[in-house]
Amino acid sequence: MLQRVNIKNYRSLKDVTVDLQQVNLLIGPNNSGKTNFLKAFEFLSTFINRHSFSLDYFLMSYFRMSVTKIKNRMNEPISFSFSIKLSDGKYGLYILEISGANKNNEPIYREFAGISKKNIQIEEIDNVRLFLDDLVDFGIVVNNAHRWKILQDFEIPVTDDKRFVLVLNQDKELEMRKKSWLTNDLIEYVDEGFLFDFGNIFKDIIIYKPDTNRIAEPGKLGVEQFINADASNLVSFLDNIRDIHPEIYERIKFDLNECLDEFSDLRFIKVERDGVLYKKIGLIDKRKKIFWAEELSEGTLYFLALLSIIHQPNPPKLLLLEEPEKGIHPRRIHEVMEYIFRLADEKKIQIVLTTHNTQLVDEFEDTPQSVFVFEMINGATEIKNLNKDIIEPANKKSEETGLPFIRYTELLGEKWFQGFIGGVP
């Protein structure tokens, strides 16, 4: 699970640090940087999973502009740092810095990966970053599947007294450097568990924003194994999954019935358009009446898409969802969120949600540490943790001044709307 995240100079995120929880909620006015925060994960996933080693090519295709333009804009390096709680109880640290060009006008990126027995603190991330500053010409080892293979071939010794960094020099050769400054058991060894956990977290990160207009459209005959960002291939996915993963299909049906108990089953029907066969989807209610996609509410379609995203084979370990309440009746939001919390726990999925809905915010009354309040200050995104940066300092001040405590988490959504926790237009 991702823990501490620090992002620098990525779009409006000039320098932000957050401590993520299992299910996280981002709130704030429009254009305060919530989507940029999600896009940063998407960017990193694309970077980690890229097939080409050419940074120029990657940046050009990601930012859709010429390399010269990108380099001109990169006054400060884009940087991502993550600490990760691994399945074996240890902690992983990953740092990526991308800067425009070195003195020879060559693109530079530097990556760092390591493992610690104890939770990594922000000062330690800064220590590593300071070290990186001395290594302008080097890329540091790293997570890409190909390069991990090199790393494993390198036979890293796993002993307590050996602390090291691995560097890839300009000639693309690996060397290992022992570094005594790596104190506090920060970097010990890199093992397969880390590679597995890390690779899984950043595998194919997609910002899901199901488009209910497109979900209702008939889909191609079942070929899709994964749901795409707007869930427009939902019909095709469900049609396919019914045959190749019937257990998943049954689970989707079961959960649908559990949350929307008026529906008990799904149906598909072939339709022909311009000589091409498609399928459309329908839901069957208790009286065995079929409601075809175009007759279903946005909320029902959205929920079906949500179930499919979570249950798809090898679901993302980090699920990013924009405004999951869209189209859902306010009275259903509680049920949908209960379901999201349950599945996050059951499937060990970490979830980051954005919302503008006060009722959805209410669902986080008991977990204010999972709420992040976004504001745009002088063109830069500022992120505050509701518990650590808002409630605790406010309570401390109340104590000092003799003023009563404000019950921030009582009717939390309303408190947000009224302006008490910030993040309002």
Binding site: A394, K397, S398, T401, G402, L403, P404, I406, E414, Q418, G419, F420, G422, V424
Partner: protein, 200 residues
């Protein structure tokens, strides 16, 4: 000149414009010497849209104003919304009672009967009838709110910019002494504000 930092929690742009315009005139009228600095950050953070909004947040927002913003004065504006004036004092005392006692002295509530447009109609009447000695209090305060809005602005949904312009123009010509003698609710606002100044 002593500077006082203040902000507002009120129902709408009419409330805000009224207070911003009348405050310097109050100071002049009381022969005091203060420079009022408006805290826009606080105002926009707690900006309300109607009386329900104000009533929900003003008590806790007052705590935030004096705890986090180092405010000297918080003005709270909410319309009385009733033609029957008999419960006015009791309701206003109730509103003050909800503000924590530590910060109550620094909070002034304006509570026009029935709405801010009624105070504006009073001022307008005085401008248009400077010599009149008629006690028009009952006549004006009995006008239903929607009609008072139309009577003053000429339409029920006047754009904010136009509203502001009209209010600034009218309030700039306020006869404070006369209005105190005609509107009990305005008199209470003026007295509460004066009381705050004397304590400061």
């Amino acid at each position: 000149m002593k500077q006082l930092k203040y902000s507002l929690i009120c129902e709408d742009v009419a409330h805000k414009t009224f207070v911003e315009t009348v405050l310097p005139l109050f100071i002049r009228h009381t022969n005091e010497s203060f420079d009022f600095i408006f805290d826009a950050d606080f105002y926009y953070r707690f900006k309300a849209r109607n009386s329900k909004d104000v009533l929900k947040r003003y008590a806790d927002a007052a705590i935030v104003a004096f705890r986090d913003y180092d405010m000297d004065l918080l003005l709270i504006g909410v319309d009385y919304d009733d033609r029957d004036r008999s419960a006015f004092n009791k309701e206003l005392d109730g509103l003050y009672g909800a503000v924590n006692e530590v910060v109550r002295d620094k909070s002034v509530i304006f509570f026009p009967v029935q709405a801010i447009e009624h105070w504006l109609l009073f001022i307008k009447f005085r401008i248009e009838n400077p010599g009149s000695t008629k006690n028009i209090s009952t006549d004006i305060e009995k006008i239903i709110r929607k009609k008072a809005k139309v009577d003053f602005f000429g339409e029920s949904r006047m754009p904010r910019d136009k509203q502001k312009k009209m209010i600034v123009e009218i309030v700039g010509q306020i006869d404070i002494k006369w209005l105190i003698s005609r509107s009990e609710s305005f008199k209470r606002f003026y007295n509460d504000f004066k009381c705050f100044l004397t304590q400061t």
